[in-house]
Symmetry: C3
Subunit: 211 residues, 3 copies
């Protein structure tokens, strides 16, 4: 079981790295820029989580295996950049798996530090989705998760599910697997059926300019 | 007195959340993006402050009340988005109150960690104004505080005033209230009279391109 | 020797501050924005390094001398903004010196915290080059180091050289000076001969949109 989760973790990191590398190549960054975007996409969320908590060093500094996986993901994305269109669905599946696992890992770490319900959910969401936020900021775009695909909504629901199951005292494997699968399934359905939240906006001249 | 400051703190968080939510709606983010922008605007400055200092966990992880205030501010901004034009002045007042309180809170925390005069001022400015910086970066714009309204200048002057009054040994209430009011008044006047610093710039072809 | 390194460090901070101030003036920021961009460019890399490691406070909070150097660099850039075209080469030299010293300082600090080879290199690169990344994000541009000039590549090579020389047990002065000089020389040559990595990209319609 532990091994299964570790495999998912590695695949998630790999998929996040590919996602960062692809955006970097679209933006015509040089190979080093591609590597850095792959790196920040894959570790960004967990790194911010570790920065927010007093007694934590960024996880990839003490577990450099992640850096190898990212290097491999970057190389893979560069070599197969033309074929990745056909692998789009496979990548999205890994990406969703990573999202699920990273989110739940973030919630669990928050719990271990004794934070409350809402703080745990927020840390889980940050862990799962802020790698993509940094990726988009480095690529000079408004982060995609703020705009579509109910990406963050899915992590919040998954995090709540995890906390409830854990409190209810279910079996550890169940407590972990159910919300991770739930995040994966919801994300895949959201992409497939193009689910998104309704957009509420204000027109330029309607809003307050004073801050 | 303590209670008064706490009220200002809550109102400031509320106003910062509204400010973030309004910009997010202008940028047509989805409701979750609106919430995240409200969140980062309200807690961003204090969070960076807490990250910069070795022994601090981000304040909102241990005081989740802030998260409820932010959720309320976001909901308020979404519901009353059309009427907020007329409330512009009220919001700006809260926002200025938040700016004043956050800045002085940042300076005080820096003092308690034993940092020097200049470091205290810098930490105060970061606490007061970097929430807005993150908000603008997430919205893919050059941060407004770098461009106009002497926003940051006001926090620097308020911070200096606080340190001087505190060193002079005045009454604690006075030491806190005077610089907070000073920041509020200067900010309101700056917005009202459109005060801004003169802009010094170099033309594209005049500058150094090499880094 | 210690003194020499300290001089380079100060000159590097000064040059990084000028680089940030110049970009800020190009972007027509107000003087406070110019100062903040100078500040983040100069201390950004080291600050992120200090945030990533559990037991570190941002270096400039405890060594405020850096803040004075940055203020001086900003003033210098504002006063001599028109003449800085002619000084372009001099500035680039300081900037490269700063890059070399900051990178090696980052690698050394990572070593002292017991991190592995790859983590040391990554921390060195972040220390040397992420100040420029933050500068460009604040200026709303895709970071230049992701696009050209083999900036980051140079820091990686310098970091590897440092770790190898140090392990080989060479004299401390040599271990420090050789990689710093190597970074300076490679960087200067890269700018002079316009070296850059080949760009590998994917066309918009070729890529995966799903994340």
């Amino acid at each position: 079981m532990e091994t299964l989760l570790q495999y998912i973790n590695i695949l998630g990191t790999f998929a996040f790295a590919i996602s960062g590398a692809l955006i970097a190549m679209k933006k015509k960054l040089d190979p080093f820029g591609v590597l850095i975007l792959a790196f920040t996409t894959a570790v960004g969320g967990g790194t911010i989580r570790d920065m927010l908590i007093e007694k934590r060093t960024a996880f990839w500094l003490v577990e450099p295996e992640y850096l190898y996986v990212i290097a491999a993901g970057t190389l893979f994305a560069i070599l197969f950049r033309k074929k990745l269109t056909y692998l789009r669905k496979t990548i999205m599946l890994f990406d969703s798996a990573g999202l699920g696992l990273f989110t739940i890992a973030g919630v669990e770490i928050a719990l271990q530090h004794g934070f409350g319900f809402v703080s745990c959910i927020v840390l889980g969401t940050i862990t799962g989705s802020f790698g993509g936020v940094i990726r988009d900021i480095f690529a000079n775009e408004v982060p995609v998760i703020f705009r579509k695909e109910i990406y963050a909504t899915v992590t919040v629901l998954g995090g709540i599910c995890y906390l409830l199951l854990r409190k209810a005292g279910f079996d550890f494997i169940l407590v972990q697997l159910v919300p991770i699968l739930m995040i994966i399934v919801m994300r895949v359905l959201a992409v497939y059926y193009k689910w998104s939240l309704p957009i509420i906006f204000v027109k330029e001249d309607e809003d307050s300019e004073d801050e």
